[in-house]
């Protein structure tokens, strides 16, 4: 299957400072592709270049098989990280406006608007003015604005940030629904658990360059099975001074430990120190890998 997005050696500088350097990646059609990376690493700049809101200084970008992604705009929807709505418009007018800009017909859009409003739990509110909506309702309307034209490629910049758990689940379900319909979904996120659970492929950008790109399994394989998840009576204190412990991620009741050397030896030494209730040799979580890469030296 062809790739929905291809970047080849893309570089973007602001006032001479590179925000993205020599970046290459390919997003398979029909996949959910996660963009992760610390703040300021170049995620939004990359997404804006894919949308042709910004133009790269070097390299080339191919979207839906077209080198000029401007011509693919009608087939691509974009939801920026910080987004607003026209306060004085009704939901229907706003969604019609966004949908028509993507080439939708009024009749088709009205049907899609009604369907999506129902799906996200806002049935019958189409004629409400935006300024009367709660924050959660507005966020769902913003999401509908991105999907109402039934795009082939959906690009979401931090789609779950600021959402309460209920609304976050509604949006996650909607993203999965879009994938089921055949839409390729690219989203950036700081929520590693969401990226692990939802994404077919994960891409990490750091200091403007690619540091990870692949399925969760392939990424975890690169880091080996050096992680132990354990629960002991001594908690994190019991790990103090142990030579095998390279790093501890303390969750209070549970610790995730990166172990140097043989885990069985580590278990034996730990059991001599404290009562071990749970000991699981596992691969590092995406959170752990992210921290390993992005943690200041």
């Amino acid at each position: 299957m062809s790739d929905a997005i291809v970047l080849r050696g893309v570089t973007k500088r602001f006032n001479g400072t590179p925000a993205v350097s020599e970046l290459s990646l390919a997003v398979p059609t029909g996949s959910i592709y996660g963009f992760i990376g610390p703040n300021g690493s170049g995620k939004t700049t990359t997404l804006r270049m894919i949308m042709r809101i910004l133009l790269p200084d070097q390299g080339e970008i191919e979207v839906l098989g077209l080198h000029d992604s401007a011509t693919a705009r009608d087939r691509v929807s974009y939801l920026p990280e910080e987004r607003g709505l026209y306060k004085k418009m009704t939901i229907r007018r706003l969604l019609r406006y966004y949908g028509r800009l993507k080439g939708g017909s009024l009749a088709g859009l009205d049907k899609a608007i009604d369907e999506w409003m129902e799906r996200v739990g806002l049935p019958g509110l189409q004629d409400r003015q935006i300024e009367t909506l709660s924050k959660g309702m507005s966020q769902k309307v913003q999401f509908i604005a991105a999907v109402v034209s039934n795009p082939e490629l959906l690009i979401l910049d931090e789609p779950f940030s600021g959402l309460d758990p209920v609304n976050a689940q509604v949006v996650k379900d909607a993203v999965l629904e879009m994938r089921r319909r055949g839409t390729t979904v690219v989203f950036s996120t700081h929520d590693m658990a969401t990226a692990e659970r939802m994404c077919d492929r994960i891409f990490m950008i750091f200091n403007g360059g690619k540091v990870l790109d692949g399925s969760l399994e392939s990424i975890q394989d690169q880091y080996g099975a050096d992680t132990v998840r354990l629960r002991t009576s001594g908690g994190a204190l019991a790990l103090a001074g142990m030579a095998e412990v390279e790093a501890v991620n303390d969750f209070g009741q549970l610790q995730e430990v990166r172990v140097a050397g043989d885990p069985q030896m580590f278990l034996a030494r730990l059991a001599a120190r404290t009562v071990v209730y749970h000991f699981e040799i596992t691969r590092p979580s995406l959170q752990d890998i992210f921290v390993r890469i992005a943690k200041p030296a």
Partner: protein
């Protein structure tokens, strides 16, 4: 083009539904009705107090005639409506005060105290030599209401009438005869003779000041208020989209130029509707009250709308660029000052151009693109109008400037709309344009 039209349609619908548009449609008629209504209403009630003033007459012959004339101008009397200083709604009551044995300054002080106590409104002195035709004596008026002009105006007209009468009497000359002999022949201001289609000579029409000056004033004023109502609306719309990050969503669907062009087109449509409403209302009113509708020709209307469209595009681009370069509405106020000056300066120049519409200054200024919508339109609406080549040159220069303004604004818009938290400096804006 399809996307530009969608944006324009949405902008148009949003603007015409806004309270600001409804207010601007109603603003002019409401202001006119209010100004006329208030002027009429207040004329009747603003000066309803009788004003007693003292006359100190050192000539000994002026006070009595002045008292007699004052009664003639009382409200309800034959000359009440003709009273100098405005129609009579109150009485001026002169009271003669004898000055025979008093020191002038003592008397002035005493009368000033009476004014302060409210017994008198003012007092007036006629010096002894005021009747001397070769003298420089002046009537002295004293009051603690320096802004009240009705009584001094009345005194200037009436007292001088009495003084001149007395001078004629002393010279044994019949004033009425002199008046008849020195009556001026007035100049009647006419248009030109012409032939109609059948070859018959058509007499010239007398120039009607309402036609000659009313239409140019209305044309310039309408141009000004239409630009002023559309420009700030564009600025606010751009700042709203920038601050709430709507612009980034939109730029995911269309190019910055398409977005800007749609906004400009929407604004042009609203301006045309607004000015068409005013023109239609104005013509109906002019026809109803004075039969003046015919003075607005198709030629005038066509040029008005051509210059209006170019103005909205040119000034609208500038407003859009300012909006895109600013981080909030407050910052935009400072940047707007030079733009407002560009709009205001031609308005200040209207009066000198009205006096000499074919002069060098009028010709040159009406070719300046930022002034052309006001000053060239002013010249077009003043008969006989400028030569055709001047109108065409002015329109061509303005069209070229409009294209440059749109091009530069598009460059600023593209970068400015994505820049958050900081207002661009002029240097940065120049760099964006040159990039």
């Amino acid at each position: 083009m399809r996307k530009i039209l969608i944006v324009a349609q949405t902008e148009f619908a949003t603007l015409v539904r806004s309270k600001a548009f409804i207010a601007s449609v109603l603003l002019l008629p409401v202001m006119m009705v209010l100004s006329v209504g208030l002027t009429r209403a207040t004329k009747r009630v603003s000066d309803d107090k009788d004003r007693t003033f003292a006359i100190v007459d050192y000539t000994g012959v002026l006070a009595q005639p002045l008292v007699a004339v004052a009664r003639m101008f009382d409200p309800g009397s034959a000359f009440g409506g003709l009273r100098p200083g405005g129609p009579a709604t109150s009485r001026f009551i002169p009271v003669e005060v004898s000055a025979s044995t008093r020191q002038p300054d003592e008397l002035r002080l005493e009368l000033s105290d009476r004014v302060r106590k409210g017994e008198l409104f003012a007092f007036v002195e006629f010096p002894a030599n005021v009747l001397d035709p070769g003298g420089e004596a002046r009537i002295q008026y004293y009051s603690d209401h320096p802004s009240y002009a009705n009584l001094p105006t009345w005194l200037t007209a009436i007292a001088n009438g009495v003084i001149i009468n007395e001078r004629f009497r002393r010279a044994s000359i019949d004033r009425a005869l002199v008046a008849r002999l020195t009556k001026q022949a007035s100049v009647e201001n006419n248009g030109l003779f012409d032939r109609d289609a059948s070859g018959r000579v058509q007499a010239a029409e007398t120039v009607d000041n309402a036609r000659a000056f009313g239409v140019p004033a209305a044309v310039v004023f309408l141009m000004f208020i239409t630009i002023m109502s559309s420009g700030p609306a564009l600025l606010n719309s751009v700042i709203e989209e920038k601050m709430s990050r709507i612009s980034e969503v939109l730029m995911g669907s269309l190019t910055p130029f398409e977005l800007m062009a749609g906004k400009l087109l929407g604004s042009v449509s609203v301006s045309i509707v607004l000015s068409a409403l005013y023109v239609a209302g104005g013509l109906a009113g002019a026809q109803y009250w004075g039969g003046y509708a015919s003075v607005v020709t198709l030629h005038l209307l066509a040029w008005f709308f051509i210059f209006l469209v170019m103005s909205i595009l040119m000034f609208g681009s500038v407003f859009i660029a300012v909006g895109a370069a600013c981080s909030d509405l407050k910052d935009s106020q400072g940047m707007m000052t030079p733009v407002m000056m560009l709009l205001m300066i031609p308005m200040f120049l209207c009066v000198p151009i009205l006096r000499a519409p074919d002069g060098t200054m009028a010709t040159v200024l009406s070719l300046v693109p930022t002034a052309a919508p006001f000053l060239m339109m002013l010249r077009i609406s003043l008969a006989p109008g400028p030569p055709g080549w001047q109108i065409a040159l002015s329109a061509a220069l303005m069209a070229a400037t409009t294209v440059v303004a749109i091009w530069a604004a598009a460059k600023i818009f593209r970068t400015g709309m994505l820049m958050q938290g900081k207002t661009a400096t002029l240097t940065e804006m120049v760099r964006w344009v040159r990039a």
